[in-house]
Amino acid sequence: MKLEVASGISLIAGGGLLALHGFIRGAVEHINLGIAGMFLGAILLTFKGKEYIKKESVELVGGSYESILERMVRNLALDGNAIFIPPYDNLPKGGLFVPLHEDFDLDLARLDENKVFLTDVPREKAMGLFLGPVGTPLVEKFEEHLEGPLNGIGSEAVESVASSVLKTLGLAEKVYIEEEDDTFRVIVDPSIECNVEDCEKTPCPICASVLLALAKGTNELLLIESVYEKEYGIEMRIKKLGGVEEWM
């Protein structure tokens, strides 16, 4: 049995006995302390009765998947940086697309959830790799905490909910989003070890979840312009590419 569960049960049992003792003796302090014990036992079971795995395990398991993606992108010689697409008819959860060329053309009508390599397009500029909804489970967690969809809630609300959820899950210390004219400055301070190499093309699920949530929250396609590792976290320059209808 876990220490937290054992402590919770002991507090409830001990508190119950103390409250009973106080009730028999007519000692209000004992009754109060007994009830306090039972109450704190219940709180402890609610907050700490969950299973956790070590941070190191996440790095060990997730790292291999990340390297597979990086190798795939390098092998395909994709020059473009990652584009985050907000949800629309073809992609109800939105997604991450890496264009073949830096000077790309996007044909959203040809994308769908089952497509990975986008090659059946009239122009080579529109080709690319669709990596699907990277970070979607975390975006779903953001919406669960928000108790509603992220669609169109704005960058400030996205910053608030992403920061809270990632901090609660122990994945990031902070998330900061600053909106400029046609760009966003996004800072994520991940709690796990992060390598920014190739992050412009294949961001990790933590950064991807923030950017996908931002795309969803602002209803704009977002292009990663640059990623830097600073002493205060990972800083990303994100360019707004307009709404889905502009690329259909």
Binding site: L33, A36, F47, E147, T168
Partner: protein, 81 residues
Amino acid sequence: MDVEDYFILFISAWVLVSALAVKSVDVFLTLTLIGLLITLEVGSLFLSKEQKEDLKPLVELLIVIFVVIVMKKIYGVLSGG
């Protein structure tokens, strides 16, 4: 420390101070309800839906107790006791 740890520390301190400072079970239970509601309101963004759902029965129980306390007081005032 996790965010959850801060909540546990806050609610523990609140409940223990209330238990030791007040000489009435009614006032103590009312203060406990207030502390729990503050925790839920301030921490709503940091708590998962599951945790909030798990805390609901506790809040509901304390609200029922609070209603009984209020009814008792009203009865006391009306009966001139």
